[in-house]
């Protein structure tokens, strides 16, 4: 057992061979990130700054949870142990969740939520665009659908980043503060680990090392339009992808999973 990753290390096999375990994990990570982010957004419903924004945030949540359903269902099939989307969503503990650490960060104020959203929307733009060329046809199809949604999400979040960054002095300070706080979670977005590398070698997933600079250029352009400063690099290595999370995820899952845990085996 690898203490850091929390997962069994697949034995090294032929170069480029696709391990079923790695394939399962690759899809699971995408599903978990969408699920956790969707759950966070759904907390806003009924509490947004304006009625139209309530509908917009609900729309984001619906798209992301929809992505999660497709990805988790597929991951369960790849795993081959009979776990469906709900078994994966409601019956795994925090150490088994493989979402990016950034996704589980609390909503904070609207600015905080928007910065988190914009960072992940721009990440998803690169990832889903890259996945369209996947040798895994099913994953490519999911990515193609998700990409259309992500383009709209990115339009929404980048638009708000500019409005808030270049709005009032108060809004500028709030989003700069949010950016300074959340920036430390961004290295994980494009830092490849052994699973990423295996999937890239198999043609299933794009190269994170190549996508990273593209993402970075887009970020810089948006920050300039929003009159915001890119924070300094903060090298702490987060391992959400490997099941090592912040304290926030446990609380979020406690709330999300409660009914299935309180009534084991019930049909809903």
């Amino acid at each position: 057992m690898n203490a850091v990753s929390g997962a069994a290390s697949p034995a090294d096999g032929e170069h480029g061979a696709m391990r079923p375990e790695a394939h399962f994990r690759c899809v699971l990570r995408l599903g978990d990130t969408s699920l956790v982010l969707g759950q966070r957004l759904s907390e806003w419903i009924g509490h947004a700054p304006e009625l139209e924004e309530d509908l917009a945030l609900a729309n984001l949540a619906l798209d992301l949870i929809g992505q999660a359903r497709l990805l988790l269902a597929y991951a369960g099939e790849l795993e081959g142990h009979g776990r469906d989307e709900d078994a994966l969503a409601f019956l795994r503990d925090a150490t088994e969740f493989t979402n990016l650490t950034l996704a589980e960060q609390p909503n904070g104020d609207f600015g905080h939520t928007l910065v988190r959203q914009w960072l992940l929307d721009s990440w998803q733009l690169e990832i889903y665009q890259g996945l369209i060329a996947s040798t895994d046809a099913r994953l490519a199809a999911i990515a193609a659908k998700a990409l259309k949604e992500t383009r709209y999400h990115y339009r929404f979040s980048s638009g708000w980043l500019v409005r808030l960054g270049d709005g009032t002095e108060e809004s500028h300070l709030r989003v700069q503060g949010a950016l300074d706080h959340l920036w430390r979670f961004t290295p994980e977005l494009f830092a490849p680990d052994d699973i990423d590398e295996r999937m890239q070698a198999a043609g299933v997933a794009p190269s994170l090392a190549e996508l990273g600079p593209q993402w970075s250029r887009r970020i810089d352009a948006d920050l300039a339009a929003a009159t915001l400063q890119r924070p300094a690099a903060q090298p702490y290595p987060w391992h959400g992808k490997r099941g090592v999370h912040t304290e926030h995820l446990g609380h979020m899952l406690g709330e999300m999973q409660y009914l299935q845990r309180a009534y084991p085996g019930a049909r809903w």
């Binding site: 304006e50 139209e52 509908l55 917009a56 729309n59 709209y152 339009r155 929404f156 638009g159 409005r163």
Partner: protein, 94 residues
């Protein structure tokens, strides 16, 4: 007052439609946001392929008080309708 967003009127052309129809209004801070809000509020059930938004303040409407003089005179000009003209059936393509 500095928090208020202006009112926009929304027109949607549906997939099967030929013209944009007025569907209602919403508030937005700017034009880009107005399009997004219109999309989120009025096209969730695949109703739309095209959205127009106009600031309500810019929409000019005819005055119902003038409806009589604006619209009644057209009523008796039946010669504008094709059915007014008697063409023998044997003549094609008219």
């Amino acid at each position: 007052m500095s928090e208020d967003w202006p009112l926009f009127e929304v027109f949607i052309r549906s997939r099967s439609g030929l013209e944009h129809k007025h569907v209602g209004s919403l508030h937005a801070a700017d034009a880009r946001m107005a399009i997004e809000h219109a999309r989120d509020v009025y096209t969730r059930r695949q109703e739309g392929v095209s959205i127009w938004v106009v600031r309500s303040a810019d929409l000019i409407a005819s005055d119902p008080q003038e409806a009589e003089s604006l619209f009644e005179p057209a009523r008796d000009k039946v010669y504008r309708h094709p059915t007014f003209y008697a063409i023998p059936e044997e003549v094609k393509n008219l």
